[in-house]
Symmetry: C2
Subunit: 296 residues, 2 copies
């Protein structure tokens, strides 16, 4: 059996070769903002969202390059959200993944503009897909899913509630809302766009949406667990930060033992969902298992 870490690394390389094709060329008077966009986009990461999109697309038998601009677009939206989250008025973070954050390198004004630019460019990129197969309702629907899951009823809505709740104890319902939108929405968008573009039926789309919700939730709960159980060396960042910041998490509400049981239950449900659709895509199963049971 192949080492999952190595397999993911190979997939990351392949995904990056696709999505970086869609980055803007750094030229013209407005060159600086393009540099800032590319600096942030190229900061690394596993490219999980475009990877999940591509694997879901393959699960339903998709094989054309119509998926590519959407893979790039979802990563642009993820990147813009990180740039704006790091701004002084938000989390005020100077470093991300060991590199200086965008506003630290390019200044605060350009940080704001680079985030705006990536959000806008995500739609410009998705429109390339739209024009590539104009008249195909599935592609139009994919653009709409992207817009809906990124906005106030998706990721941004979750971010707003997270910002407003800072330093306050959270009830379970509100925590679920933040997890569902802030972390979940882009994972849902990724998998649903993959399914829609591959021609999945309404019923199959419903199954994959539930799988995505489970993956997003289990991913986030595992994050909370690792903040308690891991060590700084393994995690690559300080542990115990949630407790230090008096942050309500899934672990503080349900307790560590129950949270660990819940992750098992939710991830089993997600894997059963995938299995009910197809037995073909082994890597998608491996990827989901990895995301949920990861140690860092």
């Amino acid at each position: 059996m192949m080492d999952i870490n190595k397999e993911i690394a190979e997939h990351t390389t392949q995904v990056e070769a696709i999505i970086t094709k869609y980055l803007p060329k750094e030229s013209g008077y407005q060159k600086t903002v393009m540099e800032a966009m590319n600096y942030s986009f190229l900061a690394g990461g596993k490219r999980l969202r475009p990877m999940l999109m591509q694997e879901t697309y393959r699960l339903f038998g998709g094989s054309s390059d119509i998926i590519e601009p959407f893979m790039a677009a979802i990563e642009m939206i993820h990147t813009y959200s990180l740039i704006h989250d790091d701004l002084p008025a938000m989390d005020n973070d100077d470093y991300r993944r060991g590199r200086k954050t965008t506003h630290v390198v390019y200044g605060e004004a350009m940080g704001i503009l680079a985030g705006d630019a990536l959000l806008n460019f995500a739609f410009e990129t998705a429109c390339k897909g739209l024009m590539q197969d104009v008249g195909n309702p599935a592609v139009a629907r994919a653009v709409q899913i992207l817009a809906q899951k990124a906005g106030i009823y998706g990721m941004l809505g979750g971010q707003v509630v997270d910002v407003e709740s800072e330093g306050q104890p959270l009830e379970r319902e509100k925590l679920d809302f933040i997890y569902d939108l802030k972390t979940g929405a882009l994972i849902e968008a990724s998998m649903l766009i993959g399914a829609v573009l591959a021609g999945a039926s309404e019923k199959e789309q419903q199954v994959i949406l539930q799988v995505a919700k489970d993956v997003g939730l289990a991913f986030q709960i595992q994050d909370d667990i690792l903040d308690v159980t891991s060590d700084m060396e393994t995690l690559g960042k300080p542990i115990g930060s949630d407790e230090k910041n008096h942050k309500t998490t899934y672990v503080t509400i349900r307790g560590l033992a129950q949270a660990q049981k819940d992750v098992e239950k939710i991830s089993e449900r997600a894997l059963e969902g995938v299995a009910s659709l197809s037995e073909k895509n082994v890597f998608l199963n491996e990827l989901i298992r990895y995301l949920i049971h990861r140690k860092k």
Copy 2:
């Protein structure tokens, strides 16, 4: 002959009745960002961009409601750009049109998020149009124009260069670039989307694009002229601010007399362009004349 100010006011009322239908309902945990979006959107203004879009649509015989989500979307993009321009890291303005700016009322984090939300919601709204007539290439093209003219090759590109040039003398070529993109691009988007959705031919689209470029440029030059020739009472804001800020403008480069001649020439060209397309839409002509020869 009707009073143009009164006529525009009536059109503004009609346009507002359309575009406000597309605003989000203020509800749910993420209510605050919706309030901030609506606060900014409802701050007033003449709604020139959606008005130009609607009139261009009518010029080419358009009569369905497919134009409506795009009218709302272009105003959302204009509004987001104002919110982010006013932020402390950008122009740091506390007031706009006599009302407190969004970040002053809702805080800086929510100001950033409300701008992001409006940009994203513009595409969600345009996607409503896309799904309303799915499979129609003109509607797909309209979404693409919106994305392209708002982004790094459009309005945002101009804004980046404007921010970077602050406090520096500008050569003519760069000033033209900023005017063309920062002010011009959304006017081009408005008129071009109106033309495309009404089924204008490629050649007609080229003519209307040139008209829009002229309208945008003349509008901006007139702005520079008024900053020199008007008085505070008429203009409703301090005059002479460009000179005070050592700002390079069309007037500082070309001189006042030449700038006034140029406005005449450019606006005549724009009106001839419209006349070459149709003699039907009298109000569009009046509107262009007003925009260019306005006293405030």
